[in-house]
Amino acid sequence: MTLSQDLLAILACPACKGVLAVTDDGSGLVCEACRLRYPVRDGIPVMLVDEAEKLDG
């Protein structure tokens, strides 16, 4: 996935509207506050809370 810096700046967690970080391998977007990882499938970020993966801890 290639997300422009401009786009990353405005992308937000759909649950808390907080900032997101791209995972190291580029396979998802993480909201640290909600402990959720939004996957990227076929190059399209899946920004749905229902389909987000819960992070441990």
Binding site: S4, D6, L7, A9, P14, A15, L20, I44, P45, M47
Partner: protein, 259 residues
């Protein structure tokens, strides 16, 4: 159906007909797309968002005119078609995300232009969708909401919606123009202008598009035929070259966040 079931139903419906929306649908009508772009007044430094973007037609219209054009939709197939179309056109500043119109994945005040074309009647909580559109729009931004509208008269509108539900069970409701305007004003949006746009479509073609079970299509057709003389559903029916034809009334709302 609860809200979640409605959204799943909408996803499934559009996943199955994505191919249709880039070609021969009224969604692709150039006149309406041009009107929307004109009313949105895009500038090269603008960022635009199309909510429930479908196969990305409007995003692809905005992309050459703005710094970035973004689209969100609940249907994976629609977004895949949108990605392919934007790549085909060489639009490097177009991007697409799978997202819920009622929970947009963007920070407050991110976009100069927020559009939503012919999708509003699918939202289980349209008030919330408008709230989200306003939230992500910049204070000096512009919202252009486009939707089919039904008659102002309650009973006419109810009959119209009965036919719509038979054709598209996932459709929540086609609203009257005044209902949509009230919802926008409730979110402190100033409605600057409401344009009316009419499109004509062959009734059988319209009934066949969404993939509804044929028995429902037939029930809807029967109701329409019964209404030909009196137009009690407000569908603006007439015969064109011997074919039963209907009038889609579309309202294009232009609004700005207040104050």
């Amino acid at each position: 159906m609860d809200d979640h079931a409605i959204k799943e139903s909408v996803q499934q419906q559009f996943d199955s007909v994505a191919h249709h929306y880039l070609s021969n649908s009224p969604m692709a009508e150039v006149g309406l797309l041009d009107l929307i772009v004109d009313l949105a007044a895009p500038r090269p430094e603008h960022c635009s968002l199309d909510v429930a973007c479908g196969a990305g037609l409007l995003v692809c219209c905005f992309a050459p005119l703005v710094a970035s054009a973004t689209g969100v939709d609940l249907s994976r197939s629609m977004l895949t078609a949108a990605e392919q179309e934007s790549k085909r056109q060489g639009l490097v500043n177009a991007s697409f995300h799978l997202a819920d119109s009622e929970a947009l994945p963007f920070a407050d005040h991110s976009f100069d232009i927020v559009t939503c074309k012919l999708a509003f009647h699918y939202f289980p909580d349209p008030q919330r969708a408008i709230r989200e559109m306003k939230r992500v729009a910049k204070p000096d931004g512009r919202i252009v909401l486009i939707d089919r509208v039904a008659a102002e008269d309650f009973h006419t509108r109810e009959l119209h919606n009965r036919i719509e539900k038979l054709r598209t069970p996932s459709k929540v409701k086609v609203y009257a123009r005044s209902e949509i305007q009230s919802m926008m004003e409730r979110e402190d949006l100033t409605v600057l202008d409401i344009n009316r746009y009419e499109q004509y479509q062959d009734v059988d073609e319209w009934l066949a598009t969404t993939g509804a079970p044929s028995i429902y299509q037939q029930m809807a057709r029967d109701l329409i035929v019964q209404s030909l003389e009196t137009d009690r559903e407000g569908l603006g029916l007439f015969r064109r070259d011997g074919r039963l034809t209907m009038t889609h009334s579309t309202a294009v709302f232009v609004a700005e966040p207040r104050g």
